[in-house]
């Protein structure tokens, strides 16, 4: 039977009137975060049981063993105080960078760039009120060629964050903002990840991440524009 033999008058009524339910804002982001979680657990499990985890015999004479052991403890403690922090923090920044990239790509894929679509900063800013624990600065850079096109709630780094969406020609820029009390400055994240350019900066208690497929020069110009206007 042909597949397009739908002549039922009821079809028309249903197609005209029945609700097509749309996923709520943030569902794509939550699914993405859950997938990342599963992938991390899988990776951790695989690491915990490497195929050939045989113990390498410690080749030293028994006499020296206690001394060597003690020395290695001291060395470990000295090293860990500085290096561990740095390595952990760097990993963390890399992981956030991955999540920023994932959110950016997701926002383009799902055709869900904005929850509130408006080029008016006075519409976008109040929209975040009550949805987040921070009030992100919403700046329109239309005059510089980077018009604001809206905002959206997103989820990354295990928290709800504001995503401000800008456009430059055909390129979309996602600017993520969340509150982070400024401790020691975290190591610099990669400036580029899988072909997307990435910028992070701190302004008071707020952390900003900008990501786009714009070229580095234009993205820097955008960041400069935001930072200048925010002051």
């Amino acid at each position: 039977m042909a597949d397009d033999d739908d002549t039922s008058p009821l079809s028309g009524v249903i197609r005209r009137h029945a609700t097509r339910y749309s996923p709520p804002p943030g569902l794509a982001a939550r699914i993405g975060a859950a997938l990342d979680e599963v992938a991390r657990e899988d990776a951790a499990r695989a690491e915990a049981s490497p195929p050939s985890a045989r113990v390498v015999p410690f080749r030293s004479t028994a006499r020296w063993r206690p001394v060597a052991l003690a020395a290695s403890f001291v060395l470990a403690i000295v090293l860990s105080s500085g290096t561990t922090w740095y390595v952990t923090a760097a990993n963390q920044q890399g992981q956030i960078a991955e999540e920023v990239l994932a959110s950016h790509v997701r926002s383009l894929l799902v055709d869900h760039l904005t929850d509130v679509a408006s080029s008016d900063q006075h519409t976008v800013k109040p929209w975040f009120a009550g949805k987040l624990d921070v009030s992100p600065p919403v700046i329109d850079l239309a005059a510089h060629g980077y018009p604001l096109i809206g905002g959206r709630l997103d989820y990354l780094n295990q928290r709800q964050v504001a995503a401000l969406v800008y456009r430059h020609q055909q390129h979309v820029i996602n600017l993520f903002v969340w509150a982070q009390s400024g401790r020691a400055p975290a190591p610099r994240p990669p400036a580029e990840i899988q072909g997307y350019n990435l910028r992070r900066w701190q302004e008071g208690d707020l952390t900003f991440w900008a990501i786009s497929d714009l070229n580095p020069g234009e993205l820097d110009e955008f960041v400069q524009g935001i930072r200048t206007a925010a002051r």
Partner: protein, 180 residues
């Protein structure tokens, strides 16, 4: 990464179908937050089995996982709603002329609430073919894959669903005219 396929690759394929997935889950659970849970559960399941996906029609495969997750949810939370459709399939379909000729009053006076209420009242096995056919505009073949039944069953369920809708619509219109 140790997983054969990373989450990014899966997202690239699966997220464009989020609207269809959510719409199906929402119509089967008839509730917003349950639909969200079902879709998230389904996407995680699909990701786990993704490495084994060898088919050509990713959308149909994904929606089949969503449907499975929705039925699992119904079995757990509202078992009374899931009645095997086998018996109902056998009921006379061909003789039912209502489907082909619903009252013009229904066509004229139908609105969003009436149509939504009517579809919601269908048993899930009939509701899903209506949603997949009329709202997602999928082929019988795809619907058969998703619902895991032969194409002939899809067609008879669709015909039967239309007959039920027409009868239910007539009843509701009569009530709203005479009642109150």
């Amino acid at each position: 990464m140790t997983t054969p396929t990373g989450p990014r690759e899966f997202e690239r394929l699966a997220l464009p179908h989020l609207d269809a997935a959510y719409n199906l889950a929402r119509w089967l659970t008839r509730n917003d937050s349950d639909a969200e849970d079902v879709v998230q559960d389904a996407y995680l399941r699909a990701y786990k089995y993704f490495a084994g996906f060898r088919g050509e029609n990713f959308r149909a495969w994904l929606l089949a996982v969503v449907r499975r997750a929705a039925y699992d949810w119904l079995h757990r939370n509202r078992p009374a709603e899931v009645v095997p459709a086998g018996d109902m399939d056998l009921e006379a379909v061909a003789a039912d002329s209502e489907a082909d000729n619903p009252e013009t009053a229904l066509l004229r006076r139908a609105d969003q609430k009436l149509v939504n209420d009517m579809i919601s009242a269908l048993p899930p096995q009939f509701r899903e073919v209506v949603i997949l056919r009329e709202l997602q505009e999928l082929s019988y073949k795809d619907i058969a894959t998703i619902a895991d039944v032969p194409v002939g069953t899809v067609m008879s369920r669709l015909a039967r669903a239309r007959a039920m809708l027409a009868a239910d619509g007539r009843r509701r219109l009569k009530e709203s005219t005479h009642g109150r």
